[in-house]
């Protein structure tokens, strides 16, 4: 989606024809959706395996820190009374379908992208709560959950850029938009450093 081509378009044609999404953005949405869906599915399957056999060791329990088994059995892993990955399955399915439509050049209305951006924003908020809980309350990392963390934040950036394109022409929004990938890079750096510091006692034994 570009904000710089024909300025007449958003005013007149768009309401009827929907939002045009550039191919890279569309592919991004599709890939993020697929990766997130795969992670959510795996987590659900592992959760079922644990329910069948409490002694089951999930495939992602690698060491004391990287251990989804100990994370999946915590109350935080069922924040709303049912396992979190179920939310992931539903929402990432929507993302995959949206990404496919966008790749197929189907023009979806702006309100649709706005809704998706809002949903992704809620997801990002939830993920930050989960990151905090995982690092500082549970004290273990679950690799598949981290995959979800990693795809959701860039997804929000892409979807929000599509949804908010008309608002991004000036002011603070434009600056933020220009620097959005720098901000994402800083977010990833901060997260990795937090993990590094939090579990340094363990990492340092590996060196």
């Amino acid at each position: 989606m570009t904000v710089t081509d024909s300025p007449a378009e958003p005013a007149t044609g768009e309401a009827r024809r929907g939002v045009e999404v550039r191919t890279p953005s569309a592919v991004w949405v599709l890939i993020a959706g697929a990766v997130g869906l795969a992670a959510a599915l795996t987590l659900t399957v592992e959760k079922i395996e644990i329910l069948i056999n409490p002694d089951y060791v999930p495939s992602c329990s690698i060491n004391p820190v990287l251990s989804c088994g100990s994370v999946m059995i915590t109350p935080q892993a069922s924040a709303f009374g049912f396992p979190n990955p179920l939310i992931g399955i539903v929402s990432f399915t929507i993302v995959v379908v949206t990404g496919l439509l966008a790749v197929a050049k189907v023009r979806l209305p702006r309100w649709y992208w706005g809704g998706l951006a809002l949903g992704t924003l809620l997801g990002v908020g939830f993920i930050h709560w989960l990151i905090f809980q995982s690092l500082y309350r549970i004290g273990a990392l679950c690799p598949y959950c981290m995959v979800v963390w990693a795809v959701t934040v860039p997804l929000l950036v892409v979807v929000a850029s599509i949804a908010l394109a008309p608002q991004l022409e000036s002011g603070v929004a434009r600056v933020v938009h220009q620097w959005r990938w720098s901000l994402v890079t800083l977010w990833f750096t901060a997260l990795i450093l937090m993990i590094l510091v939090r579990f340094w006692n363990y990492w340092s034994t590996l060196i």
Partner: protein, 260 residues
């Protein structure tokens, strides 16, 4: 997306500008990331790993003449001592048995494993037990000989259990310095590197009272025994080492023996 609009010819004039902006953006981001990573790594790597409560560590003191088991480096006789620098009975024990234990170490008959526990910590003594015990581990990291002098010095100037003033960390650092331990010791004491380990050491080792003395894991009753009994027991383990004998009690007002 907003910055690359290749469709419109008008914007080609700004292509160089955009490329420069991109470089600035990538460059600035990279600098911030590298600075952040560098700073955090510097802080994290610089911080010493503190042993936690529940870990056990003893200060193993022996001489080069140590009598070992055949075909190994394990000593035949290990005397484990569990002491609290504040406990009066530990002070009495040190006065009564200290010279003998030092003699046993120096003659190579035993290896002494000192475990400095803290069972008398309280706000009224500013947690002197754990602070002094932790300081002893700091000194031992630097030098075992300095630890022996530090150990003797702390008992020689042991504060009363209900006394009014207790050596603060600065005083402990000064005593360590007089015992010949400088280097990283002040830092180690100030940061309280071993404090939590010492606090948890008594329960982690299953110690009910201090002083507790074990000879090869068997408890040695210190309240009814004399240094002669200890020497006799060591002799049954290592045999009759020439010159092995108990030493007279240390005189009551001791200067730190061997202090420089």
């Amino acid at each position: 997306m907003a910055t690359n609009s290749k469709k419109n010819a008008r914007y080609d004039l700004n292509a160089a500008d955009r490329r420069r902006n991109l470089f600035i953006q990538v460059g600035l981001t990279a600098i911030v990331v590298l600075l952040g990573v560098g700073l955090v790594l510097y802080i994290v790597m610089g911080a010493d790993k503190k042993p936690e409560a529940g870990e056990t560590k003893s200060i193993q003191v022996s001489s080069s003449k140590l009598i070992t088991k055949e075909g190994g480096t394990e000593p035949k006789a290990v005397v484990s001592l569990y002491e609290d620098f504040l406990c009066p009975h530990c002070g009495e024990f040190e006065q009564k048995f200290g010279p003998t234990i030092n003699h046993l170490i120096d003659s190579g008959a035993i290896r002494a494993d000192y475990n400095m526990v803290a069972i008398l910590d309280s706000p009224s003594n500013a947690n002197y037990s754990s602070r002094s015990g932790a300081a002893a581990y700091c000194v031992a990291d630097e030098s075992k000989d300095a630890f022996r002098r530090f150990h003797a010095a702390l008992y020689a100037q042991q504060p009363g259990e209900t006394g009014a003033s207790f050596p603060d960390d600065a005083r402990l650092i000064e005593i360590a310095r007089q015992a010949g331990a400088g280097g990283t010791v002040p830092d180690c004491i100030n940061k309280g590197k071993y404090v939590s380990m010492v606090e948890g050491l008594a329960s982690a080792s299953g110690i009910q009272s201090t002083p507790t003395v074990k000879v090869n894991g068997q408890e040695f009753d210190v309240s009814t025994s004399t240094p002669e009994d200890l020497v006799a027991q060591i002799k049954t383990i290592v045999g009759d080492v020439p010159g092995l004998m108990s030493k007279p009690e240390a005189p009551t007002p001791t200067a730190p023996p061997g202090a420089p």
